[in-house]
Structure formats: structure tokens, C-alpha cells
Amino acid sequence: MYDTIIIGAGMSGLAAGIRLAYFDQRVLVLERHFTIGGLNSFYRLRGRDYDVGLHALTNITPKGSKRGPLARLLRQLRLSWDDLQISPQLGSDIVFPGVRLSFDNDLDLLREEVAREFPLQIDRFDRLIAEIVEYDDLDESHQQISARERLAEALTDPLLVEMLFCPLMFYGSAREHDMDWGQFSIMFRSIFMEGLGRPHAGVRLILKQLVRRYRGLGGELKLRAGVQRLAVEDGRVTGVVLENGEEVAARRILSSAGWSETMRMCDDGAPVVSRVPGRLSFCETIASLDVEPHTLGHNRTITFFNDSEKFDWSRPELPCDLRSGVICSPNNFQYGKPLDDGTIRITALANFDYWRHLDEHDYRLEKLRWYDSITASAVRFVPDYRHRVVDTDMFTPTTIVRFTGHENGAVYGSPEKQFDGRTHLENLFVCGTDQGFVGIIGSIVSGISMANQHCLRE
């Protein structure tokens, strides 16, 4: 009998596992896939190392900082800052027609940029920042306020509003067209006020640290162990039934599989309370270059672009939305030594239904076609690198479903979050994407806080 079974060996599940194993629980993490990492795993292809997702870690505060999510999670997992070997970004841009705002891990740069490009807005921008600093991320009542309404009051230049929304939505909005004010404030702080960074070895370094920690504390991990259903008796879960039929008993379950996905696993016949599923998914192109991007004149860490004055954050009608995107070069961080390969990755919004309905032959052709279109769209905003490409990869919304089981390939899950992590069953809880915090740092914090709140107090 396990004290806690955790469904999913992504960031949130592993972080929760560390907390529970540290405090001597018998814990089992069950992962359907043959490897750990979920939405942010890693793989090797034709002799090169790739990360599935990682552009950058958010919330990067310098070593020694005591505040903020990064400091909090290091303390909670008993990791030291050096364990994650994070190198800060070189600097990133938000590019709209005729306007470019640069930012780095020091908010002053963004302030100067706003003052230069939007001189009439800077006082208002400062007041907005003061309000965001004040925002209490433990006060859930703020979550319901529309960030668009709030920003329309705070700033009077709609272009600046769009330019601020673009990176924050790309890196963490499950909702189309808008964000909750709470989520906006959290994302603003994590990207503009704290900052971006990356370990030289990429996401594998983070995952290895988490798994080593977890196993070192006696935590158990089973791969290729998909949970098929949750056995329910009298309003309690008694255990799980795996896809191979095996049954495992536990006193409680913490699931990172997603809200609806978890509800559907309950075999108590209770109607699944329907929730608006997330609709926002991505295509991502990855190009390996035979040179470092800076030799082509590209030294930006992330370039968020939009080719008109209005930024449209919604599921595209077309297979991919070519009007906006995120261009990332993993090379452009302040490392001590260069990476082996030059790499440029581009993220674009994508339509899950389109990609899902293709047969294998068409899927392959469409991938090639849209790889080219996305890249052609991006090189309007960064130096053309296409003549230096030596290898490519690409993934689509269906890849995301295959690797994580998230409905619709919705990277940030459902727009409706379950902030308290509770379900209709007294000993079943959710963490990760659908609990409320997204991104790598966010989901780790989610795993920790759900483990603390629901699995450690008794």
C-alpha cells in the first residue's frame, strides 16, 4: 500500500514526489510514456540532442535571492541554486510592425525601451508595474478579473498593450483572447521582472536533478505504466488500475494528467463535470545550423513577433498561425562555453483538429510544408538562417497529445483552473497544468504546493 501514488512523471509530478519521499512517505510515480518529462522532455535524433519544449526557464532570479518562485522551489526541494546551472539570457525582443522593445533580466531595460518607444505611456507603465508588484499570488479573487480590461484602464496606447500581451500569452495563457489578471501578473513578474535563463545542458539537466533527488530519497518510478482507471469506493479512491491490468493500492492520488483526463479515469460513474477544454496548441520547428546564430548577426535569446498591430491569441483557422510566433535560440544565453550546435526553434499557434485528421502520408507532407511556411514567416524578423541548416525536426499538436495525453494538445491545459487542487473525491487531487501554474517553474511549484497542502498534513 502506497501513501501516495502520483500520476505523471512531468515536472509537477516529480517535484511532488520529492516532497513526499523526503518526508518518508511511500510514493510511486506512474508514467505512461517510456521516459520522464511530459511536455518538456528530451530526445536524441540522428546524433543530436534535442529538448522537446524548453526555450527558457522563467522566474530566473540571481543566486542568493530569497524571494520569488525559483528561490522557493529550491528551498522546498532542498536543491542549491548551482544544481540547476542556469545561465541568464543575452536579451530578448518583442517585435511588432515598426516597433521593437528589448528586455533582459533587469526590468530597467524594458522601462527605458518603453520610455523611448512610448514616451507618453511611461508614467502609466510605472504605475502598472507598481500594481503588479503588489499583486498577491495567493489571493485567488484576483484570478477572475480580465487582464484586457485592467490594461485598457492602465495604458492608453493599444499597441503597447498588445506588445506586452504577446510574450505573456505565448508563455502561459490557457485562455483565448485574454488572460486572468492574476495570471497576467504572475507571468509579467516571471518574464519581465525576474527573467529568462537556461542550463547549458538543457531540460535534461533539470529532469535528471529531479529524478536523482526523488530516487535518492527512496521514491519509486515506473515508466510505461499508464493508469487506465482509478478504483473508487464510497467517495474515496482506493488505488489505480494500470493499462496492463495490474492493480496498485494507495491511500491517496495526486494526478498531473489534466483535469478532464483525471475525471474520466474515475470509475465511480459520476458524471464528468464538463469543463471548457483548452484549444491552444503549438507547432514547433527546430533547425540545427552549422554555425552559431550570432555569426549570422542574430544574438537575441527570444524574439516574440507579430506582423500587425493587433495580436490575436486564439486557435487559428489555418493549420498554423503565421502572423505571430516565438523564435528562440538556445545558443544565446550567457554560457561559459558554447553549445555543440547552432539551433533556432520557432513556436507558432496551431489547429489541433487539422493535424489530427491527416493520414500518415499527408501528415508527413504537411509537416514539411508548414515547416517551410513557419520558417519563412520568422525570417521576416530575424536574419535568414535557412542556408545554414543541417538538420531539422518539427512537432505538431498531435505529437503533444501522443507524449502527454493532454486533450487537444492544449499546452497550457484548460482555461478553467482548479486552484485548490481538490476533486469530488476526498483523497484525489490534481497538480500541474490544470491546477493553475504553467511553465517549467510554475508546474514544479504546483507539484510542491499540492503535495504540501493535500498529502503532508495529517
Binding site: 523526503y22 518526508f23 518518508d24 543566486k63 542568493g64 530569497k66 524571494r67 522557493r72 528551498r75 522546498q76 532542498r78 542549491s80 541554486w81 510542491i448 504546493s449 504540501n452 503532508l456 498534513r457
Partner: protein
């Protein structure tokens, strides 16, 4: 454990929770929260570490007793008097 030993133990726990923190100048009469920037998650950890190390259960209503070093030691003394320092 004596009061002095309990104090040592609490310092040890604080060091585990906040390894980068300088604990040598801690003022026993001042709230931890004010001098160490501990948040509610960290307070839960003090409780959890005591449970892990010494099997002491502290009910949630008593968490406020852990505000400063002085109050913590005073609160723990009767609970830990029979525990041997290892």
C-alpha cells in the same frame, strides 16, 4: 533535550530549509519571518522536519508558537524533554 540542544536542532533545520541563509546572527527574540524571509511553506517545513526527525506532531493551531526562536524553544521544551540528542 535541553533548551540549548533544541535551539541547536532548530538552527540545523533552518539550515536545511534555507542553506544560503546566514544564521550566525539570528536574534532569538525576533520573528523568523522578519529576519529570514521565511514564507508559509517554510513554516510547514519546520513542522515537517520535527516530525521526520523526532516524531513530534504539532497541530496546525499551534504553528504560531513557532514564530521566533524563543517562542519555538519554549513551546518545544516540554514536547522534547525525553528525546535524546544524537
Amino acid at each position: 533535550m535541553t533548551a540549548a540542544e533544541i535551539r541547536e536542532e532548530i538552527l540545523d533545520i533552518l539550515e536545511a530549509i534555507a542553506p544560503d541563509e546566514d544564521l550566525s546572527n539570528i536574534d532569538d527574540s525576533v520573528n523568523f519571518r522578519d529576519q529570514l524571509e521565511l514564507d508559509s511553506m517554510d513554516f510547514l517545513d519546520i513542522v515537517m522536519e520535527l516530525r521526520k526527525r523526532h516524531r513530534i506532531q504539532i497541530p496546525e493551531d499551534d504553528y504560531i508558537e513557532l514564530a521566533s526562536m524563543n517562542s519555538t524553544v519554549a513551546f518545544l521544551e516540554p514536547l522534547m524533554k525525553d528525546i535524546q540528542k544524537v
